[in-house]
């Protein structure tokens, strides 16, 4: 070892130096990782690097290097673990804060420098402890006065919030932080002066109780409940350490419980916190937003963490102060959390050792009190972050952002250091061995328990938590890794992600299909195919699991998403959309043989590219643009049922001659009185004539065989038909009352006429494009025979349009609000694949419906 830089090395100092070097190396690698992280997030496709946090590392290295230099000249007995432990903690904190917010990091490093200078001055001065002891009342009272001043001059540096800070011009200080330390100093020196073993406990503690009550009163008025809880804990533990009386613990425990219950009933803040703690899942976007986001972040970290800089810790509110543990857990994982807790455990052990070996009772109580103060604060905030206790807004010592907190923690460490240096004498007699051992053990056990709880969230509950819809990372991944496109049957892009890693934007090339394609929005959630196909589009499914695992390990991201191919034919879809135009309604074009949906129209629709701007209007729009009318619309079917009833009739027995009397009620000219003319326009009287023969049981059988008793499963939300068999023939005639259906349902049923009596279930998503096997077909449709092919042919001939290759029925349905159904299909003479159309126009306009059918069939039949 090169000793030239060290004039008189003691073993103590060698240990301190080596530990500091290891801490420095750890933070160096941490800083390198932070530099590389932005490039890793975009998978090296561009090379953005982050340098700002190096400022923090340099300040840390100079600060602790200098402090080490100072401490070398101090007496030999000083504790050689304290400085490295504090160094690794505060360095970790500084780098994490820099990573979260550069400005906060800068402020925190200024506080760090200030704190280290104070510690250097403190440890060089002999007799600081004595000085503190002499004027203890003065210190405590001035601390109380400063805290009291926040009642009148208090501010909140971040805008609106609890007014716990004093200061101006950019520098703020929270007097309740040093007040904790002053309380410990006061208690230690007071208790050390009293041979309390004989006297009654009450007489001993009465003066301290009055001061404590004063402090608590102040904090309660300020609603600084976390600090108030800490005060009670620090007071109780220090008293217990000094007296060894177990009843102190019992009394304080009871007091805290009562205070908790009283707070739950009388103070709103406490009640909200307790409710959010007891049942956070009830209100995940409101009161328990923070805690749930915290748990999700811990779960995203899992065992190894995403690596420093590669996670998304800033989605948790106040990540730099209250939730810095969450940020660390996300980026270094369970393994980092266990390391962090071990560092705290070592600190606790060393602090307790300093207390036990202290030469004076005052020193011992002071050291033990400081340990109690750190331990209870660590446990309180970590338990809050991990949903073991209700959240309290206290800081994590040395790590959290907060100048007053860092300064106080460093000063407390300086005091511990001075105590450890001062034990030239033999240790003072220890009356309360049990209390010291119990507390050390309890502290270590609590830290171990917190590690176990972290494991619970990060490993066992990991999948449940990360898959939650309110995990914002799911949407952030889409910006960093390409999400799959959705294309039509010919590969025309309908929606895709554009840009480059880090800036991917979803672009809907064909927004008219918005109701079917859906959207994937961090605020408004997921709908349509974006929701049902999410696992393919996002790359979780359909990709070899080794690839998912590898991407997760390297980048903490899912792999590139898979493209999804629909059965939609964009040409036909465009024709249908332009026909529908500004009208309201829904329409389905379907291949009756294969079940492939060729077009799915729902108007009005919306432009998902502008979802953020138009959302407010969309949700209150009376025309319900978010509803997919083609598959979710519940339209009364009424006379549009003609083709299906006709099919049933023909199947039962040949149609009779068209009755003369029907011509009149169908307002048909006598020369044109035929079943064809009556049924093509959906004449109610003709339909009634046919229906009577069926009632009741055969009608039910027919409806069931045509699928009106069930919904088809599609990867988008589908409404089941409202089907209820009528009780009497009179009711049966009011067709709108017992059957309401979507255009999709009608298209499937009408398909039987065009597809030789076979009925095929609908098919929307055809295939996904996997990396190794190319396009893989998913969801095969199924076909069932309903009637013989000859029957279907007879029925379609009765409805056929003269001189055309298709049959049709157009019917106006409804009494007050009239709608026009249009149903049609190709006939036998068409040699291509059979096509059916079913649609609703939410107006009374049969003429227009016929035109649309004609134009659509023209487009379809010519497109092949």
């Amino acid at each position: 070892m090169n000793r030239s830089a060290v004039p008189f090395p003691s073993p103590v100092e060698r240990v301190q130096r080596r530990l500091l070097l290891l801490a420095g190396a750890f933070l160096l690698v941490y800083a390198i990782l932070l530099t590389l992280a932005p490039a890793v997030k975009v998978r090296g496709e561009s090379f953005p690097l982050e340098w700002k946090h190096w400022l923090g590392w340099v300040i840390w290295a100079i600060g602790f290097g200098t402090l080490h230099h100072f401490s070398r000249r101090l007496a030999f007995e000083a504790d050689h673990f304290l400085l490295p432990l504090v160094a690794i903690l505060s360095g970790w904190g500084i780098l994490t804060i820099f990573r979260l917010d550069f400005t906060l990091g800068l402020r925190q490093s200024i506080w760090l420098v200030l704190g280290l200078i104070l510690v250097a001055l403190l440890v060089r001065q002999e007799g600081v402890l004595q000085f503190l002891r002499q004027y203890r009342v003065l210190w405590l009272v001035s601390g109380l006065v400063l805290t009291g001043l926040t009642l009148f001059f208090g501010t909140y540096p971040g805008g609106e919030g609890p007014r716990l800070w004093l200061g101006c011009c950019g520098i703020y200080f929270q007097p309740s932080e040093p007040l904790k330390l002053l309380l410990v100093v006061f208690l230690a020196s007071y208790l050390a002066e009293r041979p309390f073993l004989q006297k009654s406990l009450l007489r001993l503690v009465l003066p301290t109780l009055i001061l404590l009550a004063l402090a608590l009163g102040l904090l309660l008025i300020q609603r600084d409940l976390g600090t108030a809880t800490l005060f009670i804990l620090i007071y109780t533990l220090t008293l217990y350490l000094a007296t060894g009386e177990k009843k102190v613990l019992l009394l304080a425990g009871a007091a805290l419980l009562i205070a908790g219950f009283a707070g739950t009933f009388f103070i709103d803040v406490v009640r909200y916190r307790v409710e959010a703690w007891l049942n956070p899942w009830a209100d995940p976007s409101g009161r328990s937003y923070q805690i749930i986001q915290s748990l999700i972040a811990i779960a995203s970290g899992a065992v190894l963490g995403s690596g420093p800089g590669a996670g998304f810790p800033f989605v948790v509110p106040v990540a730099a102060s209250d939730f810095i543990f969450t940020a660390i857990a996300e980026e270094t994982g369970l393994i980092g959390v266990i390391g962090l807790l071990l560092v705290y455990a070592l600190f606790l052990v060393r602090g307790m050792r300093i207390a036990l070996f202290a030469g004076k009772q005052y020193h011992r109580y002071l050291a033990a009190g400081i340990v109690a103060y750190f331990t209870s604060q660590i446990v309180l905030i970590l338990a809050g972050n991990l949903r073991v206790l209700p959240l309290t807004g206290v800081t994590l010592p040395f790590l959290s952002y907060g100048g007053s907190s860092l300064l106080t923690s460093l000063l407390a460490t300086g005091l511990l250091y001075s105590i450890s240096r001062d034990n030239r004498e033999e240790p003072a007699a220890l009356h309360t061995v049990g209390a010291h051992l119990h507390l050390s053990f309890a502290g270590l056990a609590l830290l171990g328990g917190l590690a176990l709880v972290t494991g619970w969230w990060a490993v066992i509950r990991q999948e449940t938590l990360t898959e939650r819809v309110d995990n914002p990372r799911q949407y952030l991944y889409d910006r960093y890794v390409q999400r799959g496109s959705i294309v039509d049957r010919n590969g025309e892009v309908l929606v895709h992600s554009m840009g480059r890693p880090g800036e991917f934007q979803r672009a809907w090339v064909y927004p008219d299909l918005a109701n079917t394609l859906g959207y994937n929005h961090p605020l408004y959630g997921r709908t349509g195919l974006e929701a049902s196909m999410n696992s393919y589009l996002r790359g979780w499914q359909g990709v070899p699991s080794s690839l998912v695992w590898w991407n997760r390990l390297l980048y903490s991201q899912p792999p590139v998403g898979l493209d999804v191919r629909l059965t939609i034919n964009l040409d036909i879809q465009q024709v249908a959309d332009s026909l529908m135009g500004e009208h309201q309604g829904g329409l389905v074009v379907m291949n009756a043989e294969s079940g492939e949906i060729l077009a799915l129209v729902s108007h009005p629709t919306f432009d998902p590219n502008r979802l953020g701007e138009i959302w407010q209007d969309l949700v209150v729009d009376p025309h319900a643009p978010l509803v997919n009318r083609a598959v979710q619309g519940q339209y009364p079917v009424g006379n549009a049922l003609a083709p299906m009833v006709l099919l049933g009739s023909v199947n039962k027995s040949p149609l009779p001659e068209f009755p003369r009397e029907l011509a009149e009620s169908c307002t048909l000219p006598p020369e044109n009185a035929s079943w064809n003319a009556a049924l093509r326009r959906g004449c109610p009287a003709a339909l009634e004539f046919l229906l009577r023969a069926f009632f009741p049981s055969e009608l039910d059988r027919l409806m069931r065989s045509l699928g009106f008793d069930r919904a088809y499963s599609l990867p988008i939300p589908v409404a089941a038909p409202q089907y209820r068999l009528a009780d009497t023939p009179g009711q049966m005639m009011q067709l709108e009352n017992w059957l309401q259906s979507s255009p999709l349902q009608m298209a499937v049923a009408a398909g039987v006429l065009s597809n030789q009596g076979m009925m095929t279930s609908p098919w929307l998503v055809q295939a996904v494009h996997t990396p190794h096997q190319g396009w893989v077909v998913i969801n095969y449709p199924t076909s069932t025979g309903v009637v013989p092919a000859s029957i279907a042919r007879q029925a379609q001939q009765i409805l056929s349009v003269p001189g055309q290759l298709y049959w049709q029925t157009v019917a106006v349905v409804g009494s007050e609000q009239k709608i026009t159904w249009m149903i049609g299909g190709t006939t036998q003479e068409w040699e291509g694949a059979p096509v059916v159309i079913a649609g609703v126009l939410e107006e009374e306009d049969p003429q227009r419906a016929r035109q649309w059918l004609a134009k659509l069939f023209e487009a379809i039949l010519n497109s092949r």
């Binding site: 000793r3 060290v6 004039p7 008189f8 090395p9 003691s10 073993p11 240990v15 080596r18 530990l19 290891l22 801490a23 190396a25 750890f26 690698v29 941490y30 390198i32 990782l33 590389l36 992280a37 490039a39 890793v40 998978r43 090296g44 030999f76 007995e77 050689h80 673990f81 490295p84 432990l85 690794i88 190894l304 963490g305 690596g307 420093p308 590669a310 270094t332 393994i335 980092g336 390391g339 071990l342 560092v343 070592l346 052990v349 390990l553 390297l554 980048y555």
Partner: protein
Amino acid sequence: MIGILFLLLRLVLVVLLYAFLLWALYILWSDLRMQTLALQAPQIPPVTLEVTNLLEEQPATFDIPEILIGRSAAANYTIRNETVSSQHARLSYHHHQWWVEDLKSTNGTFLNGERVVSPTVVMNGDELRCGQVNIRVTLKEPQKQPSRRK
């Protein structure tokens, strides 16, 4: 590529964190062991001084708490060499350790090549130099005896 580099560095990070912790724990444990030994053997561990660059001086072993090194015959360990002051340095045992202290000697006292300015801990195998005379310090483990105090 950068992903793999990042992953490796992440592993290094974990290794360094746990190296810090394990080393700290190891020191804690060995401190504890030393203290237990010291408690077991409250008497002074014998120290052997041996001049390595002069042939005439014989090694000597002491089990007293203070050893005076010097040219004078009154010293516990007398070295007849003109670069050594008459009262040159003192080895003393306290706080469970041997310490060396320079007695304002003319040519100075050095421990492992470093000048001794204030009392400094002496470890087994350390090289002490008084003037031009090199002395090897050998510390024996304290003999194991039933402990008398706890």
